[in-house]
């Protein structure tokens, strides 16, 4: 059980700096997920915490103890690798007990702890098999079992589910969530699957090219992304962005002009905005309405419609070259190649200034819910 603290952690490979001074506070028992696009440094950061990668500069504290120069095995961390990294010639039991054996724990104690972990993960009947004779999901469970046995202060997972098929992924995701519920250890989990991030995390850390873009709970990132990158990265399908011009600024309102000429007022933090600025207005696909019943109505050319039954995805072009995605609950009467009016409400809109920073008003889940009820919905 442990807190984890990163202070100004920097990683350089030769002259190439890939992690640029990251600060992070992780509380005891938290499930933290690192997300970000490929190559942003998630694995590198995780491996630095594990002690597999040298820390060029900065400090890492586990349990208020500086472990920057402590070797991997002494940090009290355990890691699940993307490739599982099971020792191929050892049985499942030997694989799980290897760390304890190296720590000179007694045979009896090893057996007891391996059996206990096997019990949690339902690995009992597989204990005498070699990894070769296991399915992908079973291997993954063994890899997790290997970390449980050591009872580490911090669990580290590097894209543990990426080698599994979709169905198994969902199943293992639930199992990992359950495991965290049972063990209550600090866990850090790297993924670029944002469903995993949203469902598992107490706290998500969004990384982009070696920098932390935002840290927060899944819902916080969804409702109040700090910038357009986070807004685009969290949520699926991706948020729609529309470039708007600022016509006038008041204390808490901006007058915006949409590319199609529509002019409207939008509440915002107007401190550093002036007339003539270009802003990005973001609206999530699930908040776009398929008809003109919303507050802001725009006209789009429908491109493709995907009927999934439970929901319908509509891909359309707005004002020539802006692609818009709509997610419509249930079935829809939109057809491909339609010309069509769609709309959305102001309180769902996000605003980002030219630097990409959010200047929209803070959203709150309950307030949003309430606002939704008050508005006239499409009938």
């Amino acid at each position: 059980m442990a807190d984890l603290k990163l202070t100004q952690v920097i990683k350089r490979f030769g002259d190439l700096e890939t992690i640029h001074g990251i600060d992070l506070d992780i509380k005891d028992g938290e499930f933290v997920v690192f997300v970000g696009p490929s190559g942003c440094g998630k694995s590198t950061l995780l491996r630095m915490i594990a002690g597999l990668e040298e820390i060029t500069d900065g400090d890492i504290h586990i349990d208020n103890e500086c472990v920057t120069r402590v070797p991997a095995s002494k940090r009290g961390v355990a890691m699940v690798f993307q490739s599982y990294a099971l020792y191929p010639h050892m049985t499942v039991r030997e694989n799980m007990g290897f760390g304890l054996k190296m720590a000179k724990v007694s045979k009896h104690e090893i057996t007891r702890r391996v059996d206990e972990a096997a019990q949690i993960l339902q690995l009992g009947p597989l204990l005498d098999r070699k990894p070769k004779a296991l399915s992908g999901g079973q291997r993954q469970r063994v890899a997790i079992g290997r970390t449980i046995v050591r009872n580490p202060k911090v669990f580290l997972f590097d894209e543990p589910l990426s080698n599994l098929d979709a169905e198994l992924r969902v199943k293992m995701r639930v199992e990992i969530a359950k495991l965290h519920g049972e063990l209550r250890n600090t866990m850090i989990y790297v993924t670029h699957d944002q469903t995993e991030a949203m469902t598992l995390a107490d706290k998500i850390v969004v990384l982009r090219s070696g920098n932390v873009e935002q840290v927060g709970s899944p819902l916080e990132l969804y409702l109040n992304p700090a910038n357009d990158f986070v807004a685009g990265f969290i949520g699926s399908p991706q948020m729609n962005f529309i470039n708007c011009e600022v016509l006038a600024v008041t204390a808490d309102m901006l007058r915006l002009r949409f590319p199609c000429g529509l002019e409207t007022d939008m509440p915002a933090m107007t401190a550093n905005v002036k007339a003539g600025d270009n802003l990005k207005l973001g609206i999530r696909p699930e908040h776009v309405l398929e008809d003109a019943s919303g507050e802001l109505v725009i006209c789009v050319d429908v491109d493709v419609v995907e009927h999934l039954g439970g929901s319908t995805f509509v891909y359309a072009d707005y004002a020539g070259d802006i692609s818009m995605t709509l997610q419509v609950g249930g079935l829809s009467d939109i057809n491909g190649k339609d010309k069509r009016e769609i709309s959305f409400n102001r309180h769902y809109c996000h605003l980002f200034n030219e630097a990409g920073k959010s200047i929209g008003l803070r959203k709150d889940a309950l307030e949003l819910k309430a606002a939704e009820k008050m508005l006239p919905m499409a009938g």
Binding site: A50, G51, L52, P71, A72, S73, K74, V77, A78, M79, F81, S83, A85, L86, Y87, P88, H89, M90, F98, G99, M102, A103, R146, R150
Partner: protein, 367 residues
């Protein structure tokens, strides 16, 4: 997968015939060479080993049955009582040693024993135990060869593995080391043997100079190639050094096949360098080790050139090997039939050992 399912759909004959023709066409040159220089000579050797053919001889060749094999393999034993005078007292020779009847006289007198020669003898109690062989040189060569194999295989494989471990890392200029370690392999073994003969020289050799310098004159000079006790080890050391590069490359390939994740997992598990070697590297190299050990063993059995160049089988037959003996008998003494018999026996021995090794490794892998 696509093309496979397509071929399945077509009738077998149409598809198979041209393909089979290509198979034959493509493999013909290799097969031709294999037959001309390996398979046919081998069967000729088997045939010849039952005759008395000589390399250049006016005499008609005739079948002699198993005579060559008898000469090759026949070993016999004998126990001698010391010579006693009429009173039953032991007769002592000039040095005060117990005297035994002259062996040669004994063998000559018995027609059944006339072909035997002394291989080895030792005195125990008041008796002399004698091992006789029809070709004591062969027996000696056979033992020498086994000794060579027993010494050189662990040394060469160990050296190769050590070198492979050393250069299996991302360091700048590592290819230079790889080249250096591999260079003896591409150097002619004859050249290497000649150079090492100088290095091993008793008075002028570099090794003795170093030995004496480093031990402040306490050790040596060792007569590396002239002392029967040192001659075989000297050849072993040189051979291992010369050939280890090949096995090193094979080990290197094997090492690169081991996932680096395993080492990192072991790091987290708290395994030290030794544990990592023992629990990850060695098991990961299992198949490589099997291959390297078997191929090195077979190669070691063929020891010839080094002996031919450096010692000509001496001193006192201490470095003569089966191959060397076969060539000496077959070509230098022109008894090609006998040489063939040696090769045939040798082939069977190597085959047996290779099969045994494979069985051994296989059964280990199963557990």
């Amino acid at each position: 997968m696509e093309p496979k399912s397509v071929t399945r759909l077509q009738p077998d004959i149409q598809e198979q015939k041209p393909r089979r023709r290509y198979v034959f066409l493509m493999s013909t040159p290799a097969l031709l060479g294999l037959f001309m220089f390996l398979v046919i000579p081998f069967f000729m050797a088997v045939g010849m080993s039952f005759t008395d053919q000589r390399l250049l001889s006016p005499n008609e060749t005739s079948w002699v049955g198993l005579r060559n094999y008898d000469r090759l393999l026949n070993v016999s034993g004998m126990v001698q009582e010391p010579v006693r005078d009429e009173a039953g007292q032991l007769v002592l020779d000039g040095d005060g040693q117990v005297e035994y009847p002259r062996l040669r006289t004994l063998l000559r007198s018995d027609p059944a024993m006339a072909d035997y020669k002394l291989f080895s003898s030792w005195d125990l109690g008041e008796k002399r135990y004698i091992v006789l062989a029809k070709d004591p040189h062969f027996i000696q060569s056979f033992i020498n060869t086994l000794l060579f194999v027993l010494l050189v295989v662990p040394l060469q494989c160990g050296l190769a593995l050590a070198l492979a471990l050393l250069i299996n890392r991302q360091l700048r200029g590592i290819f230079l080391y790889r080249t250096v370690f591999f260079s003896p392999v591409v150097t002619s073994i004859v050249v290497v043997s000649i150079v090492w003969s100088f290095l091993y020289h008793k008075d002028l050799g570099l090794f003795n100079h170093y030995l004496q310098a480093m031990s402040f004159g306490l050790i040596g000079p060792i007569d590396w190639l002239g002392d029967p006790a040192w001659s075989m080890p000297s050849i072993v050391i040189m051979s291992a050094w010369q050939a280890a590069g090949v096995q090193m490359l094979i080990f290197l390939a094997g090492l690169q096949g081991i996932s680096p994740d395993l080492y990192e997992a072991a790091d987290l598990d708290g395994a030290g360098p030794w544990s990592k070697f023992w629990h990850i590297t060695l098991p990961g190299l299992r198949n490589t080790v099997v291959f390297v050990v078997i191929s090195t063993t077979i190669q070691a059995f063929g020891l010839f050139t080094q002996v031919d160049v450096m010692t000509q089988g001496g001193p006192q037959g201490s470095t003569s090997t089966v191959m060397y003996h076969a060539v000496t008998k077959g070509f230098r003494e022109q008894d090609i039939a006998y040489g063939s018999a040696i090769s045939v026996i040798f082939f069977l021995v190597i085959l047996g050992i290779a099969l045994f090794q494979k069985r051994l490794f296989d059964s280990k892998g199963d557990k």
